[in-house]
């Protein structure tokens, strides 16, 4: 019978040990343990490469990759789209989120070869002909970023959310970005940024210009009021 890809233990519990020496085997008893190597990792070295085509932010790229090359490394190392960041290499943090054929996905658990023929959008493609995307404006206006490392992935996750749900509640926004971790902001201003973008995008859709000032504008009067109280 087929076994699943990991024996007996919880995958995450052994992940740590495996990172350190996944190819070593414990051969003797607990107090004095000798480790010998079975270098499984070296059994396959130079693999055939595959020719693939990725369309990134509208530009077609032909490249040759090893099957194991992760999409995020192809984007960053092979093609120079370094705006997409790597945070955990295991789908858990969302820093590497890009849009593939219309859906937000984590580019650290997609093989480049698997993405052959797809249309990708990265943070570099959010700004069109010099104009910021409403989600970019939202992050800027609402102080939705601090160090900015999670921001590209966060914005790509948020735009996917807004495409499916143009008027999300706070709770829906929080659900929509729950796969993207931020260590700086406490999320509150990210939620505000996504709300800002949602409003802008709805306004764009209806051709209305009224809401443009709703959040972006700097009601100097509000600010002055606060200043005076200080």
């Amino acid at each position: 019978m087929r076994r699943s890809y990991v024996h007996g233990e919880s995958a995450t519990a052994v992940a740590t040990a495996a990172t350190i020496a996944s190819t070593t085997t414990v051969t003797t008893a607990p107090t004095s343990t000798t480790i010998t190597a079975t270098t499984a990792a070296t059994k396959l070295t130079a693999m055939d490469t595959h020719d693939i085509t990725l369309t990134i932010n509208g530009t077609e790229h032909d490249l040759s990759v090893e099957p194991r090359t992760l999409l995020v490394h192809a984007l960053r190392d092979e093609l120079g789209y370094t705006g997409t960041n790597v945070g955990c290499e295991s789908t858990l943090c969302g820093a590497c989120t890009v849009n593939m054929d219309g859906d937000a996905v984590k580019s650290c658990t997609i093989l480049a070869v698997q993405a052959d023929g797809t249309e990708l959008r990265t943070v570099e493609g959010l700004r069109e002909s010099g104009t910021f995307h409403p989600i970019q404006e939202g992050f800027q206006k609402e102080h939705g970023l601090q160090c900015g490392y999670c921001t590209p992935g966060m914005m790509l996750a948020a735009t996917d959310l807004l495409e499916e749900n143009p008027d999300p509640s706070d709770e829906e926004i929080r659900e929509g970005i729950e796969g993207n971790l931020c260590r700086c902001t406490g999320y509150q201003n990210i939620v505000n940024a996504v709300e800002y973008a949602a409003e802008e995008m709805r306004a764009d859709d209806t051709g209305s210009t009224e809401t443009a000032a709703a959040d972006g504008g700097v009601p100097m009067t509000d600010y002055e009021a606060v200043k005076e109280e200080d």
């Binding site: 019978m1 087929r2 076994r3 699943s4 890809y5 990991v6 007996g8 919880s10 995958a11 995450t12 052994v14 992940a15 495996a18 990172t19 996944s22 190819t23 499984a40 990792a41 059994k43 396959l44 070295t45 693999m47 055939d48 595959h50 090893e66 099957p67 194991r68 992760l70 490394h73 290499e89 295991s90 789908t91 858990l92 943090c93 969302g94 989120t97 859906d103 937000a104 996905v105 984590k106 650290c108 658990t109 997609i110 093989l111 070869v113 698997q114 996750a157 996917d160 959310l161 499916e164 659900e175 929509g176 970005i177 729950e178 796969g179 993207n180 971790l181």
Partner: protein
Amino acid sequence: MKPAAFEYHRPESVSEATDLLAEHDGAELMAGNQSLGILMANRLATPDHLVDLNAVDELSYIDVTDEAVEIGALARHRDIETSASLAEALPMFPDAASQIAGPSVRNMGTLGGSIGEADPAGNYPAVVTALDGELTLVSPDGQRTVPASEYFIAYMFTELEEEEVIAKVTVPREPFPTDRTGMAFLEQKPAAQTWPTISVGAAIRVDDPEREEPVVEDARVTLANVAGVPLRAEAAEAKVEGEPLSEGALEAAGEAASEASNPEGEMHADEQYKRELAAEYTRRSFETAYDRAVGSQ
């Protein structure tokens, strides 16, 4: 981490896929790659051959008829989560799907991948067990169907043979008339990116939701992550069947589910606590399912 090297195959049909499995000993199947990808990145899985199912379009569908629901193995969590026909027919599926990781993972992860992985904390294994689903497995020699109740054998150990591919899940609709059935899938988990501490899927069919106190005709409950396989708690089901749902029945059902559990302790949930959660989440999911059954007319 970066995966170890492997050879990559991209079949476009189920038969091509099973042929590749037959040809390459120890080949690993890849669908959404949201679990396998983590293991490979950490070199906990180092297959020599990887068979990528993503181009096998014939596995990617959700088909709801009056008689049955069929979901292809390559259906993404997100498709299941957002399917209006599933929400109508078997809402436990979208409920369970919506609670897997975050949206970007759900855009890739698949039903078949989850059932193939067979982690006892997985959501779909509990759902197909609760709903008495059937799995269709295909090999170069043909196909066979296996009831979910027989598929999960032991911890991450299943009926699936080395050369087999999961093609689809089938759930007959007859036990779940939409006008008097309610379903729930509830879980406690530390975060989107972690496995749940417990999940419970429940379905309740009442005799007549218009009655003042509708009687539970049929109850289903399956618990995830309290045993080596999805745990169908028939003793708990019996406690709520045959009468309107009462506090007493819920208490008894919770106790029965807790007794049926055989959990492994984990970092922030020891055995005893997981037994407590088994009771609590069984109560909650029956209550929610009943409310939905009664309110579903």
